[in-house]
Symmetry: C2
Subunit: 339 residues, 2 copies
């Protein structure tokens, strides 16, 4: 286990790379911790979670809502959890978002750490302190930004994940490479999903690289005034699509990145659209989709990235260099109609 402390704003997060679930008691006291997880994970890891206090919720994004948070709070109160309790989110992005939200608000904030179990959560969702719940159609409409006390990376948890979950994670890894890391883009282009799935060291290194890449961006701009917005590459349209179709987050973001690359070429003269589209494709992710433009625009209008009559759209200057572009809502509407 490689442990390092990283300061973000006023908080310090302990990163534990190459960790193993069986060593969890090194970072959290069993007696004073409560693990939040979902039914599927609980069934799979029952043995390893033995002896830990657990709150088990239903799996899936449709339960990332206030009502689930309410139930967790009620259970914590029953358990007599107090300000010295550590809350541990054991799961994918839904669980880390929910746990982070409850941990930030229960007794006005208790110690909260994450054990991401999906590739997406390891390289993205568990990092940076954003947490929250969905309200109706609006993803993460309610939440806070609060850094976790620790992150515990055990890549052996990825072994049992289905192909689609690996693809989901790679969508965010490709995103990172597009906006910030051209050498990683080239590395990704040289390999494929099967390569990483079969090599524990390779995936551990890739997880570490992406976790630290995102961390650096968040360190420089925790509250998303500038640079952090880059992480929304592919997410503006992506979120709107995800709401409307039965798309996974990674699939929706992949389509979002494809359109953002095209937009980059028409607005900024970006010339590597084909390379981006082909990398996305080579990891089994979708690139184009037909959708109801009016509906998508309606959801976009409610995007948190909107500010009055403009929206921040993330474009690419070149591979490895994302830029924040401010577009009037009207223009976004026209663009969407022409897509």
């Amino acid at each position: 286990m490689e442990s390092k402390k990283i300061r973000i704003g006023n908080a310090v997060t302990e990163y534990h790379f190459n960790a193993s679930l069986s060593k969890l008691q090194l970072v959290a006291d069993r007696k004073y911790s409560v693990i939040i997880t979902d039914e599927n994970l609980y069934d799979s890891y029952k043995k390893k979670l033995k002896g830990w206090n657990t709150i088990v919720v239903k799996p899936g994004e449709e339960f990332k809502v206030q009502q689930t948070a309410d139930t967790i709070v009620d259970t914590l109160a029953e358990m007599e959890a107090d300000r010295k309790t550590t809350l541990i989110g054991f799961g994918g992005g839904v669980i880390t978002d929910l746990t982070g939200y409850v941990g930030a608000t229960y007794m006005r904030g208790i110690r909260t750490g994450f054990i991401p179990t999906s590739l997406l959560a390891m390289v993205d969702a568990s990092i940076g302190g954003k947490n929250g719940i969905d309200v109706g159609l609006y993803k993460n409409l309610v939440g806070t930004i609060r850094q976790p006390a620790f992150l515990f990376f055990d890549v052996s948890l990825l072994q049992s994940l289905p192909e689609s979950e690996w693809q989901n994670g790679f969508a965010e890894i490709i995103k990172h490479s597009c906006i910030k890391d051209a050498p990683m883009f080239r590395e990704l282009a040289e390999h494929d999903l099967a390569y990483y799935r079969g090599r524990k060291n390779a995936i551990a290194a890739l997880v570490r690289r992406n976790a630290l890449l995102k961390t650096k961006v968040v360190q420089r701009d925790e509250t998303e005034q500038g640079e952090r917005k880059l992480l929304n590459f592919g997410h503006t349209l992506g979120h709107a699509l995800e709401n409307q179709f039965e798309l996974s987050h990674g699939q929706a973001v992949s389509i979002g990145m494809t359109y953002a690359a095209h937009l980059s070429s028409s607005l900024l003269g970006f010339r590597q659209t084909e390379k981006v589209v082909s990398l996305i494709s080579s990891y089994g992710l979708p690139t184009y989709a037909s959708f109801d433009r009016t509906k998508v625009f309606d959801v976009l209008k409610h995007d948190k990235k909107r500010e009055r009559d403009t929206i921040h759209y993330i474009l690419l200057d070149r591979i490895g260099k994302g830029v924040v572009h401010t577009l009037p809502l009207d223009q976004v509407k026209t663009i969407i109609e022409q897509l």
Copy 2:
């Protein structure tokens, strides 16, 4: 209007003393603001709130719950409130707590200011960034600490308050004098409620003095690691009593302060218990009460001030000097049984 900016942690709060509701547009843009208030206040100030976007909730502590927060969030989404929206809590502590909570979590935090309308809210509840909702019997079990963007003090709003509301505020003013300000304790002892009710300048000065006193404590210890705990003087037992009886917050705190003064004399040799009790009484507040000790202890066990098997109890060294005392839960139980 006297305006001053005060930094607390990373945030800056604008304090507007001697303000007037009719000048609200000087601190918030009518078009991009939403005022949260309750039915009673809305009825009383309909005219003055004309032209402002408002969300009106039911009055009373029983509505300071997640469900009300959910309704406010839904309404904000319908109104297309975004990250540039200013949320304004216009009301007593229930409204400022609720508004602060929604403002801290809607879109992960939007600009939020308060116009306290009760004396209690002016000298205490609106200051220091604590917000939250009640969960079952537990007051403020869920919430955050986040400083408001502005505080707008218009003491003319106090004119229509009933006597009991004035008493409520004076309980916290007396608390401040006990833990931090002996000269104010003497000033309070020289006057009475009628004196302050009849003199706008005197109450404006008292509000200012108390708002700044509390602010100073919070500045030095925003997250309640030490000094801020002093503000809980009278509140540990107070909160437990408030839950169990039909007591106002001020009444419950007054009884709490009386018992804490007695505890101070038996544990620390504090000799001014009678002075404290007599000041509380002279402002029409209760001092002694009979209550179900087992029930009260049960609620105390869930107090946020509890840490594992100890509880922080605030005692007085002398008038003007509160101290934090750590007591084992067992001892608290014995003390309560002997009260």
